[in-house]
Assembly symmetry: C2
């Protein structure tokens, strides 16, 4: 590995403890393959002895970071996962909590701050210093497969209504499409929400044409990555799952040689 | 460097040519330090002999990728930069065009597809196969410094009106704020647009309160990184530059121990 850049001493410190404080990493592991990890994420994970995460994500990295303790909690036990990480750090372990993509985009970073805040009267917990390490989120990773769908202003919206009222999701879809923004949709479907992409398309079709260029990427940077470019009208009929990221173009988005491309506007200047 | 993951042979091919085609990489180099490069970006840059980019960005990596030809064009000569990359690839060089952050987010990816499309009658150019390598964009990289500001649905909007009418930018700001979305602002200021952040704040203040939690990160992952959390009312008075990324929270965004945190909603479920 090459030399690190000119970061301040505090920033490159990866030895777990800084004076009286205990460092706890929250690491975005990128879209799914080792190749999409950043050098900073690799350095942090190599320094840790304990990696905490949802099992689907720990499995993505365990072949590359061996001799680590991997601790997992099931889906919907995110708060317990944060608590577990704090407990292990306070026992003296060097701990990283991982999220797929970017830990700061629908990942564990926010919840870690909240859980730690709830423990601030605890003398031990007050020593913990969180360090978030950003990663490549699915919107960006999938866009590279499609071509260049997100070259202009865009929004990331999750279709999961587990933590968000569906009415608010509808409002956001309408607002962004009405303002001619590109949109990347996360969590477009799940076993209990099989028709959510169809519902979202119907809302979008109220404000933008069915010829709008759209794209789908499934299993980004994992096995069986699949990519499809289609129209909004066709998107409504597509079958997607929780490993799919969906892209809605803006009014200028076009198909070039099979790729989904949203111009930034440079060509208009010539 | 560790082994690559199970990508298909075509995907891990980094030897410049695949049969009759000539590969040209468009690489996002991340927020600014070597540490924020992905393994895939490093592999691609190491394979290339020629790196094409805007000089501010080539300088960020030239210490880490030595013995390369660095070719640069000034700002506002993006189309010429793409043309240069194509010409060099057709001369037999292994070429990467770089963008800071993610090449697919206000970077060079879209323009490369457009420039190449304009040359499709050229037999040489038709052999070129573009490969976009996603990177960590400023919104994500800066968010990690602030805490966790982008944990829920959000938009990325550029305040530059060089290629976009200001009225459309205003419309997007109003739409996203009205739908209670977080916003990351790119290009909040430049020499000729010194009051643009103030103008944007005035538009936002028409729809969301001046107490909305906001954040500013300057020189993300470069020398003299600076971070500030403030209210929207205070943001209006801030001095920013072209190396600043600005964050507008949603109605739930709060300050926890000096950090800007947007809850995902997990804590409400307990």
């Amino acid at each position: 590995m090459k030399a690190l850049t000119d970061l301040s001493a505090d920033e490159i410190k990866t030895d777990g403890e800084t004076g009286d404080s205990v460092k706890l990493y929250i690491v975005g592991i990128g879209t799914g393959s080792y190749e999409m990890l950043t050098v900073r994420a690799i350095n942090a994970l190599e320094q840790c002895d304990t990696i905490v995460g949802y099992q689907v994500y720990t499995r993505l990295i365990e072949d590359y970071f061996k001799e680590k303790r991997y601790l997992t909690t099931p889906m919907r036990q995110e708060t317990q996962r944060c608590q577990l990480a704090v407990d292990e750090a306070l026992k003296g372990h060097r701990v990283a909590v991982i999220s797929s993509g970017d830990a700061g985009i629908y990942g564990m970073a926010g919840l870690m701050y909240e859980v730690l805040d709830g423990m601030k009267t605890d003398e031990g917990a007050s020593k913990i210093k969180l360090e978030v390490i950003a990663g490549v989120t699915a919107a960006n990773g999938g866009a590279a497969y499609l071509g260049a769908p997100l070259m202009h202003d865009f929004a990331i919206i999750s279709l999961s209504d587990i933590l968000t009222p569906w009415e608010l999701i509808e409002k956001r879809l309408t607002a962004c499409a009405s303002a001619d923004m590109g949109i990347a949709l996360y969590n477009p479907s799940s076993r209990k929400r099989q028709d959510y992409l169809q519902k979202a398309c119907d809302i979008l079709l109220n404000v933008i044409p069915d010829t709008t260029v759209c794209g789908i990427v499934e299993n980004i940077d994992r096995e069986n990555t699949s990519v499809k470019v289609c129209t909004l009208g066709e998107l409504r009929q597509q079958s997607v799952n929780m490993f799919t990221t969906v892209y809605i173009g803006n009014s200028t988005t076009k198909i070039i040689d099979g790729k989904m491309v949203t111009p930034r506007g440079y060509m208009n200047r010539i």
